[in-house]
């Protein structure tokens, strides 16, 4: 019973602060682009590593590997760009 009373008091104290939507939007924007870029960069690093490995193994296939690598990097880059668009949307509409 005592524990519940202190919890209620704590909640009432916190509820006195008003939450500014701009602040939350800014936080969301930072998180969006940060995590989005993490995933995209990781994926591109793995793809590039495998491409370099197979190019070292068979140097005569280098042209084809280059084309394949650039294609897949473009697709992964666009995922990071979606995250960027969401973060810009959050900043400029709040």
């Amino acid at each position: 019973m005592n524990y519940l009373m202190t919890l209620q008091n704590a909640a009432l104290q916190v509820a006195q602060f008003e939450i500014d939507p701009k602040g939350l939007a800014g936080l969301g924007a930072g998180l969006a682009i940060g995590l989005g870029a993490c995933g995209a960069a990781l994926g591109m690093g793995i793809a590039a590593g495998k491409a370099l490995e197979s190019a070292a193994r068979q140097p005569e296939l280098f042209g084809k590997l280059q084309t394949l690598l650039l294609t897949s990097i473009v697709f992964m880059e666009s995922i990071a760009i979606y995250a960027l668009v969401v973060s810009l949307l959050l900043i400029f509409t709040f």
């Binding site: 666009s78 760009i81 960027l84 400029f92």
Partner: protein, 297 residues
């Protein structure tokens, strides 16, 4: 803001240099960055009516016209007199055209189809290059407006579906939708909604993000740094995104054409296997009948 130091023994050049340095120092990181960027993102637009209908004219439309006009002049200069041994400009244009044709063929089209698709894809690529490079001259790029990439992607996906129906027919198109197994049909339908959105958002996100970053740099360090960063963000990124857009268009058309061929092959194989099984069954029945006739005798 700042005082002009006028001394008796200085030339015009020294006075000019001092005023310039003072103004430059004042403009580093001055002003409300958020407000100015927000102001830079808003577009210039005007509305007018022709014969009872309302039209909206934005700066994207005007920049598109100017960019396309200038790029057409550049292309006319590039594709000048033709000689049988190409060198210089003709060599450049011929290598570009043969590059487009080779990418089309490696996507899965044959020679004639590649020659039909190449002019359209080249036009889309040149149009996008012209529009994206305009941010190098501090003119707002048209792709910063959300409507431009979406309209282009919408039109492109209709072009892809239409040209592939012309190549392989409606039956071939539906066949490419059912290609490995018919279970994939709803996913391929959703794919045709995702593809234009992906194309549009890739172009919009890259150009808009570069534009905002360059605005920020112009406000904070207006001296030399925007020129260096602008080499990547305005020029290289714009050309790369145009090339990627065209490459993906060619890739989608090639995918449909290959899927139609593969489906036709699968259907032909299935029909052949069925016919063989039928023939074998008929042969078995015949031998059973013969043995029964022999046993009855």
């Amino acid at each position: 803001m700042g005082t002009h130091l006028i001394t008796l023994k200085t030339s015009w050049w020294a006075q000019f240099w001092e005023a310039f340095v003072e103004k430059l120092k004042g403009s580093f990181g001055n002003g409300n960055i958020g407000e100015e960027i927000r102001h830079g993102i808003l577009q210039w637009k005007t509305e007018f009516t022709i014969g009872g209908k309302d039209f909206l004219l934005t700066d994207a439309v005007i920049v598109t016209w100017i960019a396309v006009f200038l790029f057409i002049l550049l292309l006319i200069w590039l594709s000048a007199p033709k000689k049988s041994v190409p060198k210089g400009r003709q060599f450049f244009m011929e290598s570009v055209v043969s590059l487009i044709l080779s990418v089309c063929k490696s996507s899965g089209m044959n020679e004639k189809q590649a020659e039909t698709v190449a002019p359209m894809v080249g036009t889309i690529g040149c149009f996008l290059i012209a529009c994206n490079v305009s941010s190098l001259f501090k003119i707002t790029p048209p792709a910063k407006n959300i409507a431009f990439p979406f309209a282009l992607a919408f039109f492109t996906i209709f072009y892809v579906i239409g040209i592939s129906i012309r190549f392989v027919g409606v039956k071939g198109f539906i066949g490419s939708l059912l290609d490995p197994t018919p279970v994939m049909f709803p996913f391929k339908i959703i794919d045709y909604i995702i593809k234009p959105m992906s194309l549009a958002l890739r172009l919009f996100g890259n150009i808009f993000g570069s534009f905002i970053l360059m605005e920020f740099l112009y406000l904070v360090i207006p001296l030399i740094v925007p020129g260096i960063f602008g080499l990547w963000f305005d020029l290289a990124d714009g050309i790369l995104q145009a090339v990627v857009f065209s490459y993906l268009t060619m890739s989608y058309i090639g995918e449909i054409v290959e899927g139609a061929e593969a489906h036709k092959e699968h259907a032909a194989e299935k029909a052949k296997a069925k016919a063989e099984m039928k023939a074998q069954k008929a042969l078995e029945e015949k031998t059973i009948q013969e043995t029964e006739a022999v046993a009855a005798k």
